[in-house]
Point group: none
Chain length 148, copies 2
DNA sequence: TGATTGGTGGGTTGTTGTGGGGAAAAAAGG
DNA sequence: CCTTTTTTCCCCACAACAACCCACCAATCA
């Protein structure tokens, strides 16, 4: 299984294209799926991982309204991404909107997925993470629900 | 199995035709069935999935009044859908009426089906979903009945 | 320093959504 | 049963957008 790491800052150009960092791109030549995250960022799933996600969503009860809304949120926002010859991906408006992407985009390898953040949004979150690092990492083990 | 994803906003023209997004159309060249959803939107079932649905509805208890109403709702409103040479589908009045379609229509891939929403109706629901995302997704797993 | 790789910008060409006219088919009415 | 009206489908035309291609600059490495 691929393991992504590292942080890269790239520019969104006038056509809403993003040059994907070549180090990360080399691990996923065949592309994958981009969709919204629970936080205000975007999550890129490599092809294998996305099909796992699809299988999991398919097990949700179709009679449960919350399950339907969940599927709407994840599937409706998802976009297949492939790279052009320059290694760029277009980012549709609704995804830019969800993550607040304007110009500077932080592309970050996070283990099995890749996240896309607006640069300033990430900066703000990053200082919080650094400040509370020890608490956060302790709670990460317990699976205790966190408060915003 | 086909997996539909992505959100597209298209216009309903003066003849009540809707241009089906080409990305989605490519996955279902032979068309399918369009009927009402439990929410105020329309659901498009690809041919294979609709026959499953028919079989499932056939198993409902004919002595249960709710079962009879369910069959009335789904079968009675259903329309076979094929594309014209421009990739458009006509949407009959009773379906437009149920979903409140006027001009702007949101076409959304939701896994195994495709949903059609009035643009403003979807917008309102979407902000609610995003706001309550973590709660909704938690309830989606548990199958816990939700309160409006 | 020369060469290669990686990020950025922009022009050009197809494809796709949208509108509307006209022919064929179906429905309604005498 | 035939005529008139309505509906449905097919075709053409245009505009907007997305994909593809080529070119430039900067940074890195030999």
């Amino acid at each position: 299984m691929a393991s992504f790491k590292g942080t890269y800052v790239h520019q969104l150009d006038a056509k809403a294209r993003l040059a994907f960092p070549s180090r990360l791109r080399a691990q996923i030549p065949e592309g994958g799926t981009l969709t919204v995250s629970a936080e205000n960022c975007l999550t890129f799933y490599p092809a294998v991982l996305w099909s796992d996600m699809e299988r999991e969503l398919a097990t949700l009860d179709p009679l449960n309204p919350d399950a339907r809304d969940t599927k709407r949120q994840l599937f409706g926002s998802a976009e297949d991404v492939t790279f052009d010859k320059q290694g760029r991906i277009p980012i549709p408006f609704h995804l830019r909107d969800h993550a607040g992407l304007t110009k500077e985009v932080v592309v970050m390898g996070v283990g099995d997925v890749i996240e896309l953040w607006d640069a300033t949004a990430w900066q703000k979150r990053h200082v919080r993470i650094v400040a509370d690092a020890s608490d956060i990492m302790r709670r990460a083990r317990g699976g205790v629900p966190h408060s915003p």
